[in-house]
């Protein structure tokens, strides 16, 4: 027995409610974050991620209240992010109950933010989120929810992020996100094999075979999904039982 592969549900919120939609278009309500958090904890989720996808608007206090409510429900780790641009904003999120902070666009614009967060909270609390899109033979980093291109190569940016102190990479395939056509295992393996920290694969999950593939061929340490769990298309328990039968080490709660 060794370190188990993790299954991580993600709650995209507009601050107060869980929402879903592709690339911020046609958002629709997908439930109450505290209710979903309690359900996922009971079903055997290994961690929970809560993102404020309406961040940089004016609802930060609402999001902090959501983090507090979610943290109250959980006996598993909680990662929170979305629009964190400063040490002060990160402190507020940690004080509200998050164990880890995730940063994306702000880290691309000011990489020192990653070091500042690591100095204050430790590497284990800093998750660098990277949105990557296929471009030529590699992957390009995208920001602002995948909408804006950058000149950064995803593999190089992941390595730089780890040098800056990030303790984990949350890697989303912009090409696969919302398509339910499976994780980009090639992208995941390329990044996972290039860095010394754990990589969470995200984007494209639908069926259990997708998770098996990303844990084996994709060399992912953890896998994240949202709507398939919210809509009860896939139960976490059944997914983990499938993975264990397939030879992947996972935690099945007693």
């Amino acid at each position: 027995m060794s370190l188990a592969r993790r299954i991580i549900p993600c709650l995209d919120t507009d601050g107060a409610r869980v929402v879903k939609g592709v690339h911020f278009e046609g958002l629709r309500d997908a439930g109450d974050p505290t209710e979903l958090a309690a359900r996922y904890d009971a079903e055997g989720a290994d961690e929970l991620v809560v993102l404020d996808i309406a961040a940089a608007r004016d609802n930060r206090p609402t999001f902090l209240e959501t983090i507090r409510g979610v943290a109250e429900q959980l006996a598993i780790p909680l990662t929170a992010g979305g629009g964190i641009r400063s040490l002060e904003a990160a402190r507020a999120v940690v004080r509200a109950g998050a164990d880890k902070i995730t940063v994306n666009t702000a880290a691309v614009e000011r990489p020192e933010l990653v070091s500042e967060l690591c100095a204050e909270f430790g590497a284990q609390a800093v998750v660098l989120a990277i949105d990557a899109k296929r471009e030529g033979g590699g992957w390009q980093v995208r920001i602002r929810g995948g909408r804006q291109a950058t000149s950064l190569n995803a593999r190089e940016w992941a390595q730089r992020g780890v040098e800056l102190g990030a303790g984990e990479i949350l890697l989303t395939s912009v090409d696969r996100d919302g398509t339910q056509s499976g994780f980009d295992t090639e992208l995941t393996a390329a990044i996972s094999n290039a860095v010394s920290v754990p990589v969470i694969a995200s984007g494209g999950a639908k069926v259990p075979a997708h998770f098996l593939e990303v844990f084996t061929r994709g060399a992912a340490d953890a896998a994240l999904a949202a709507s398939i769990f919210h809509d009860q298309v896939q139960s976490i328990r059944a997914l983990k039982e499938f993975l264990r039968r397939s030879g992947v080490e996972v935690r099945l709660p007693c």
Partner: protein, 201 residues
């Protein structure tokens, strides 16, 4: 059960407090030396960099009160860095002395595995200990660290492995500690905390 939770600014203080309260404990969070000297049941949480913990203990003059309370027989539980701080020193903060309640040095896990050691892992080489009463063998606990105590020493009650073996649970008289985060380890973690509260009662 009254628990004195040492609050020197560690990130996981609120979640440890929440987990203890869920089990019915009366929790007082404090960084006041007199309260720690007088405590009967002490919890030292910690996450992040070892130097931050040691420096904060010294900044609040908590080192000696803590050592005195443990010497008096107060029930003590260290969590994560709270385990590592019990040793004489840590490779993570070579210039700062640890609490020295246990002999030895905390070292970095090997470079040939992914670090931090982050996620759910199991225990082995388990000896009978109050902390692990009724905990099913094969139970998973949540770890988040890159440094760890060596897997030797009479205090070891269970080890875990990531690159090398290291102490995951220790128990030496009234000193108990876990490298994982019981406050984040679901039902198995809650059981460990409950066992600590019972042993301390």
């Amino acid at each position: 059960m009254n628990v004195t939770l040492i609050d020197y600014g560690a990130g996981n203080v609120p979640s440890v407090e929440r987990a203890l309260r869920r089990l019915g404990a009366q929790v007082e969070t404090t960084n006041v030396a007199e309260k720690i000297s007088a405590a009967r049941c002490l919890v030292l949480p910690g996450v992040g960099h070892c130097a931050a913990l040691i420096a904060a203990l010294d900044a609040h003059s908590l080192r000696q009160p803590l050592i005195d309370a443990v010497g008096r027989g107060a029930a003590f539980l260290g969590i994560c860095l709270g385990l590592q701080a019990l040793y004489e020193s840590s490779e993570e903060a070579p210039t700062l002395p640890g609490l020295g309640l246990l002999p030895g040095r905390v070292t970095r896990l090997p470079e040939d595995v992914k670090l931090p050691h982050m996620g759910w892992n199991t225990l082995k080489n388990i000896r009978a200990t109050r902390l692990l009463d009724s905990v099913p063998s094969g139970a998973y606990f949540y770890f988040a660290h890159s440094f760890a105590a060596p897997a030797v020493g009479e205090e070891s009650a269970a080890v875990s492995e990531h690159g090398r073996e290291f102490i995951a649970v220790l128990e030496k008289e009234n000193i108990r500690a876990v490298q994982f985060h019981p406050e984040k380890s679901g039902a198995a973690g809650a059981l460990v905390l409950r066992n600590f509260l019972r042993a301390a009662a």
